[in-house]
Amino acid sequence: MSWQWLVPTVSIAYLGLLFAVAYYADRRAGQGRSLVNNPTIYTLSIAVYCTSWTYYGSVGRAAENGVGFLPIFLGPTLMAALWWSLLGKIIAIAKSNHITSIADFIASRYGKSPALGGMVTLFVVVGIMPYIALQLKAVAVSLDVLIHHLDVGVAAGVTAPLHYETALYVAMILALFAILFGTRHLDASERHEGMVTAIAFESIVKLGAFLLVGLFVTYGLFDGFADLFGQALADPGLKRLMTFEVVSGGYASWFSMTFLAMMAVLFLPRQFQVLVVENVNANHLRQAAWLFPLYLLAFNLFVLPIALAGRLLFAHHGMDPDIFVLTLPIHGRQDWLALLVYIGGLSAATSMVIVEAIALSTMVSNDWIIPLLLRFRAAFRDDLSGVILTIRRGIIVGLMLLGYLYFRLIGESHTLVSIGMVSFAAVAQFVPAILLGIYWPGASRRGAMAGLLAGFLVWSHTLLLASFAKSGWIAASFLTEGPWGITWLKPQALFGLTLFDPITHSVFWSMLANVGLLLTISLFDRQTAVEQIQALNFVNVFEKGAKGGDEYLWSGFVAVGDLKKVLSRFVGPEQADLDFAHYLRQRHLKLDDNAQAPAHLVAFAERRLTGAIGSASARVMISSVVKGESLDLLGVMRILDETSQVIEYSQRLELKSRQLEAATRQLQEANTRLQELDRLKDEFISTVSHELRTPLTAIRAFSEILRDNEEMDAMERHKFTEIIIKEAERLTRLVNQVLDLAKMESGKMEWHVAEVDLAQITREAVDATCQLFDNKSIQLRNEVPEHAPRLQADRDKIIQVVINLLSNAVKFCTAHTGLVVIQLLEDPEGAGLTVTDNGVGIPKDDLDRIFEKFHQVQNDAADLPLGTGLGLTICRRIVECHNGRIWAESTLGERTSFHFILPCPPDSTDPSTEPGPTAQNRQIACGAC
């Protein structure tokens, strides 16, 4: 069988299968049944991290360095734990700003700076191009090695011839793939579903092939892990591979590689593309956070066994450990397995090249070509969307050719050996600008630029130029004696630091320069308005209302039609119309083309344009049609200031008006009360006068009778005199009560609060009224127990209350059959007395009003003695001044009960208790009654 033809045919067939997968996925997406909206596909697409460098290189590294290959995969594992929070934030920022690449991310964060975007793109291309070349080389080498060894077996000392053209063909097929599935839509923030699905498919192929060869080596060539490791342990040359001694660079290198891998898995252009740009739903991160490390774990499980097996079986062949994966199956006479392994390696290389090419083409077109294009004003006139797509396609082809050229130029030199790590170190230079940028609003554009520039200079000097020197492009003295013989500038021992391996050394110095400059300059810098607003947009992306701060950026005038025209030049007229209509419908706005565009519409157009041509160019384009100025820092500050002042004023006004309302309400209440009091006073005076007139009239009438009838008999004269005395007494009583009431109401009554005994009070009141009871032969039953509770009260006043109640009861009782009962009343609120009589009773309607002044129950029983009409009013006043309560209950014709209750002091049995409020306090308290 001629492998010479079969292997290339299978390769092309495999790439054809990739096209089919991608085509199928794109068609599904077109039908609305997306395959990509799935966390497992998302995770598999992230596995584009595992390139042919992983596939072949890990075994090669393990064969020399033992576990030294692992940091490349342990770093991403550690990082995966932080994805949910860190990557979640980056995704949120990228989505709300339509960011499509790492260069755009940094440029947009630091004030949409075109210079920064261009700089990042330059560094990415310089840093990543060798990495692409490495993949092309892997494809070419693996193809030739496979064919060669399939034909001649794994004899010692034979190396395969290398056919460079293979790499060119592969590069062109991949360019075609990237063009077909990566440059369909102009808006790079739209997802490339076909490409992602193909990448996910490739991730399954490479993992499956690697696991198969691992299982074959462990269980086919050896008798399981124990056998393999046992044999290796017996070999003195391999024994050391199981410890840490063989890891070159030791723990420092282990640490720096872990750090680099942590950063690379986020910020390599292809990783950013699949993690952020192609992300459908940020929630997919949660599954990816554990599934991706698991994928890496599975991938690495057999690396060390394969390396040890290769070392054991090819001990004397001098075979390159990098191709153990291919040669071991051939050694085991499993040629088809070897072919499958080769396909796995092909998939690892192609997936990386495809995604990297798409990511880089977006960056190069948005941050280099379009800004240049925009300089030629004439080009504005036409629809540019087709031009931009063509540019992107051209860039992809150009990048592939560049990668191929790079591979041809230094293909054989050992520059490629550690190029993966060198690329990682290049990408790590973006980390400070990005991570500080999304958590610290103070990071400024000048700081980021200086940090990036310094980091890259150090990186170029310590790694890139050093590797050129190693491959002989630059004189070797550059390495050994330093540039121009300056020894402290020796690229691998800067300032005489010889502690670390070259990678760690470079990472240390470049990070020091990068972070140091970014922090220092930012701390002393003044940010422009755009920078400040973007910084807050990025840092506070999760806060409500953070979005739309960029609306402040536009204060000029532009017609809706002009805005639409700008957009349509880059996305096509139909798309622009659709976008505007959709946006206006969402906001319930109706604007025709001549209307002035509101600031948020301008911001929307800018965001939409950012997806197509990058943030910096989008800003340039929009500001070319907005008349008037985009705001400077002072303008923004003034707007913010004015807004906050207006808000403060209106808040103060609101407060004032609330206060005024409250005051008005109080005044109204007071006025109503005053009017009421005035009316009561009038009423009182007229009532008092009326009440005074009744006994006076009687006294005058009887006196006149006595004066005019000299011959009246003694009996009659005595009777009339009695009446006069009685009426005079009533008059005195009335006057006294009116005075008492007036005193109480004006708060001038003096109160002598002391501890009083209810039983004793009852007794005294009963003694004082017993004559009244005897006169009418009414029975009085005192049921108050001897040990009644003690209260804080004015003794005389309480006695007066009881006397009033008793005499009131007497009035309403029928002579001879009347019965008045006086009882103790106790409940949680305090203690008091109940006076019950069996008189005529009080109608329900009158129950509340009997305590009003001069209210007397209208009664048919004409012979009832008249009271003053003030007794109960005085009772109520007194009880209320003690914070107590008085009320009446009655059943008509049966009985009437008067209750009053006074609050008990907190602990009335404790003799040390304060004697209650002083007389003066009481007076004040009563003033309010």
Partner: protein, 69 residues
Amino acid sequence: MSQIKRRKERLLALAVLGGLALNFPLLSLFSRDELVFGIPVLFFYLFCFWSLFVLLIALVVRHRPAERS
């Protein structure tokens, strides 16, 4: 929401734990040319910790029924 925040804090703690466990000096404890269960000690430790780490992440991030609301 605070539940989610708490879980993100757990993930941060987990990452710190991983950073410590996979570095000097803890790693040096396992650098011995011996076998456990027929597997080199260092290799065994690294892969065991790796599996445990993945398991712990999965436990923290997993969707819980209560979250649906």
